[in-house]
């Protein structure tokens, strides 16, 4: 007859086994779906293997229960918690597979994305990714490998990590933009976050950041008066407890440092996206963020969108930038300048401790603009999309679009039939330039009055261009 604590332990172990079996059924369901990239299967495979191992370990724990007699409950509790927390974590991970199936993915963009990732991420390291649709109106990239490794290692399941590639990304896009291939240029910003770490840009940029100490002291004093905690997130409610000044000072400094770090990372990802995709990224960003009133509003993780537009304008068109001023046509240039003038209309912020913090961060960040441009140019040397390529390809591809031909190639020699298959960067830049400057001609050509339909037809044509170019490359059809 088992004693009371032994009965409880047996019950807990059996309940954990039940969870593991339930998860197994869910994993089988997810496994049976079709996905356009290998990423979802990689994650499911890892979850299946881990779940099987946990089931086995729980059985062993049940069998050995007699031997564990005399060991304090705390030790059994901890050993069991490692397994149940990991089970819950696996369950949680599977949400990243939802929305990644073939029906929900912008397939035209998967190949260019794969090429981009291969070009910039891999050398010796294995990588994989998931692109999934989301109902959050946002583009987002999550580097998953490090977090998964941390949880698995600390739960005692490090051995199964051989199933996880060195780099594993989950990229979200808003489902309503599925057909809009041009706005998918936002993916490049997301990819650039990964490059930020790969090129170790934080260590190149952050040592140049200097906080205004006088302002920092003013902020600490303001927080001390308020006697509120600087919380990490809105979910953790601020409490009104009285804190010693050294704790307030410490938290304010960490909060400032974290905000500076995150803003630098965001602006650097913008700069890298411009280096890799040229003006197409700027157009996509303005299209995506412009309609929202929050363009003035900073957050702990992101600088205000208006600051980002101002920064990108300088990088695209000004001296020491990327040099697109010389190759963009007047209509495209005017379009960019229009966004810039809008960005310069900054509304005064309400006076609050939070806004003092953002103002200190803004001062610090502005000193880093030139460093960001310089460093991103340096790390992308030889891999950048250039104004020369833009100038060589874009106007010709716009002619393709004007004739309702997909912009997948440029015919160099009609007599010999020599063609040059286009890179995704040129195709997307041509799509944007044509959308901005040639939209009316296109509407006339189609004879369609509904502007939404015209724009969707243009997106489809650009998507076809990306797809055909990829097929031509895979079949070696380049001249």
């Amino acid at each position: 007859m088992q004693s009371y604590p032994e009965q409880i332990t047996t019950l807990l172990l059996r309940l954990a086994q039940d969870r593991s079996k339930a998860l197994n059924l869910e994993l089988q369901r997810l496994q049976s779906r079709q996905y356009p990239s290998t990423g979802p299967h990689t994650l499911i495979k890892l979850a299946v293997a881990t779940n099987e191992k946990i089931t086995k370990d729980l059985s062993v724990m049940l069998d050995q229960q007699q031997k564990t007699k005399g060991i304090p409950n705390l030790e059994i509790e901890i050993a069991l918690r490692a397994k149940t927390e990991l089970l819950a974590f696996l369950h949680f991970l599977m949400q990243y597979v939802e929305g990644a199936d073939i029906e929900h993915t912008p397939i035209a963009f998967i190949f260019p994305l794969q090429c981009l990732l291969r070009k910039h991420l891999t050398s010796r390291s294995k990588f994989d990714f998931i692109v999934r649709s989301s109902h959050s109106y946002n583009y987002k990239i999550r580097p998953m490998a490090e977090g998964i490794r941390e949880v698995f290692s600390n739960a005692g399941y490090k051995r199964l990590l051989y199933l996880l590639p060195n780099q594993f990304l989950v990229i979200d896009y808003p489902i309503c933009e599925r057909r809009n291939v041009l706005v998918q240029c936002m993916f490049v910003h997301e990819l650039s976050h990964t490059l930020y770490y790969r090129y170790n840009l934080a260590s190149r940029l952050l040592p140049n950041a200097l906080l205004n100490e006088e302002e920092v002291q003013r902020l600490i004093a303001a927080y001390a008066i308020q006697r509120v905690e600087v919380t990490e997130s809105k979910t953790e409610s601020a409490s009104a407890e009285v804190l010693p000044r050294w704790i307030i000072e410490d938290r304010v400094r960490v909060s400032l440092q974290t905000t500076v770090e995150q803003w630098v990372e965001e602006l650097t990802a913008d700069a890298l996206a411009l280096c890799l995709f040229g003006p197409a990224y700027f157009f996509a960003f303005a299209y995506f963020s412009g309609p929202f009133a929050s363009m003035d509003k900073p957050s702990e993780t992101h600088p205000p969108d208006k600051m980002r537009i101002e920064f990108m304008f300088d990088m695209l068109l000004k001296d020491r930038g990327l040099g697109y001023g010389k190759v963009l046509d007047d209509i495209a240039k005017t379009h960019i300048e229009l966004w810039r003038s809008y960005a310069m209309q900054v509304r005064p912020a309400v006076s609050s401790t939070e806004n003092i913090l953002f103002s200190i961060v803004t001062q610090t960040i502005r000193q880093l603009f030139a460093h960001i441009v310089e460093q991103t140019k340096e790390v992308t040397r030889g891999k950048r999309y250039s104004p020369q390529a833009f100038s060589r390809d874009v106007s010709t591809l716009c002619l393709n679009l004007a004739n309702a031909f997909p912009p997948n190639e440029i015919i160099e020699d009609y007599k010999k039939g020599n063609t040059r298959v286009m890179e995704a960067e040129s195709i997307l830049n041509a799509g944007w330039v044509y959308l901005i400057s040639g939209y009316k001609t296109f509407a006339d050509l189609l004879g369609v009055e509904d502007s939404r339909e015209t724009i969707n037809k243009l997106y489809d044509l650009v998507a076809k261009g990306l797809e055909y170019a990829e097929i031509q490359r895979q079949w070696g059809m380049e001249a």
């Binding site: 927390e85 974590f89 946002n138 977090g147 952050l206 040592p207 704790i247 440092q257």
Partner: protein
């Protein structure tokens, strides 16, 4: 816009909770048997490195931009302060308390005599730290 769960933060908190559990488990095993096998040594070694990082973070919050490691240490220090329940009047006093915990771990490694109370103090520290991390990872899941 929907709230997004920050995966990196969530997995880090969960990982930290599991790490603290491992330390507590090792300390409990060591207190019971007074023997340190390979696993116990590895876990206590990680506990020592963790405390070292936290102490460095507490000493360098003024110039945390020097490297990303320094910034991470500064954040680790802040989290440890939040998890601790001891009453101290200054940062220096808190750092001395952390030094004391590290000293206990060093003595354990060196095979020197360690009292039950000293071990319980280290265990209590990691237990509270782990609980806070588990609570926070759970709160993150519940908030989305």
């Amino acid at each position: 816009m929907m709230r997004e769960l920050d995966f990196a933060k969530y997995s880090h908190r969960l990982g930290e909770g599991l790490f603290a559990d491992k330390v507590v488990l090792s300390l409990s095993q060591f207190a019971r048997t007074r023997k340190a096998d390979k696993d116990i040594k590895r876990n206590l070694g990680r506990a020592q490195s963790f405390l070292q990082e936290v102490i460095e973070g507490g000493r360098s919050t003024q110039d945390a931009f020097r490297s990303s490691q320094t910034a991470a240490s500064a954040r680790a220090f802040t989290q440890v302060v939040e998890a601790s329940t001891i009453q101290v009047s200054s940062k220096e006093e808190f750092l001395r308390y952390l030094d004391g915990l590290q000293d206990t771990l060093s003595k354990t490694f060196a095979g020197k005599a360690v009292t039950k109370e000293e071990l319980e103090r280290v265990e209590g520290f990691f237990s509270r730290y782990g609980q806070l991390q588990f609570q926070r990872s759970k709160a993150m899941l519940e908030s989305v």
